[in-house]
Assembly symmetry: C2
DNA sequence: CAAATATAATTAGTATGACAAGTAATTTTT
DNA sequence: AAAAATTACTTGTCATACTAATTATATTTG
């Protein structure tokens, strides 16, 4: 479908801006994480937070929820396990699978970081309003759905 | 600044959607690149295209334009050099620096791929209009500027 | 001008992302 | 129930991102 009044050239820019902004958002948060000695990465945080809301998830369920692939999940879980925040518990009915649980230390980490992460995330939305947020979500989701 | 009527929790979702969409956009293009045997990655393409529009750029200039860091640039240029699409020419006045130029083969590659890439990029915008595009750019750029 | 500082590029290390292939276990098919 | 297909997870490889440190060269300062 051709978009009237817009050359393909201008049009291709969205991917550049999208990539650039996504990288900066992650980089900004990661620097804060480091500065405040959170001891985890942004992606590791996502997993911890999701686990705190929904324990006993398998790795593949977690991968689905986070839209990450399984090898990536495996490796992040490896790291979180080494750091002592997560444990792999054998699944009672399926010996291929693990259930992920937060350790005590992991649960404490989540409680400690939750408000701090929210605060970091908020910075991006200065001078933008709720309508912008809705528009942004709508367009992002539309793009996402358009690509398979 | 607090956004009225929106909990921090909902609000934090933007980073997730942004990351997810950016990854899918890149992945979608990369699969097409592979399927059609383009022989380069999406990021390598960005550099070739920019070089075709502006030769004799140094690596640090290219890094600035693409908002990538220097080590990343160095490595991508290494790969493009091995593939024979780009050459490092010593800078006439500054022996620390190189000027990047497209080889004949690189220039041909750009001409060959330019329309194909535009077509691939367009897919994301089905059922979205020019107004959406402007909104999207505005919000992305605002977020970008908000984070330093 | 010499010393201090800054810049361009590289190298090294770690994390993530994508893809392919492999293993073990489970489910489906016949 | 045995064979075939599927699923869960892992391993390996390559590319990119970010950080820190290094080297060589330029620029600035005292």
């Amino acid at each position: 479908m051709l978009i009237i009044g817009m050359t393909q050239e201008q049009f291709s820019k969205y991917s550049f801006l999208l990539d650039r902004t996504a990288r900066r958002v992650k980089q900004y948060a990661q620097r804060k994480f480091k500065l405040e000695d959170f001891d985890i990465t942004v992606d590791q945080w996502l997993i911890l937070k999701n686990l705190s809301e929904n324990e006993l998830m398998s790795q593949s369920e977690m991968a689905q929820i986070l839209f990450k692939d399984q090898p990536t999940l495996t490796r992040i879980i490896d790291i979180l396990t080494k750091k002592g925040y997560v444990e792999r518990v054998p699944h009672p009915n399926d010996r291929r699978s693990f259930q992920l649980v937060l350790t005590q230390s992991g649960a404490e980490k989540v409680e400690e970081l939750k408000p701090k992460v929210s605060e970091i995330r908020q910075k991006a939305w200065e001078n933008l309003n709720e309508g912008d947020f809705e528009e942004f979500k709508r367009i992002l989701n539309k793009i996402y759905d358009n690509l398979e």
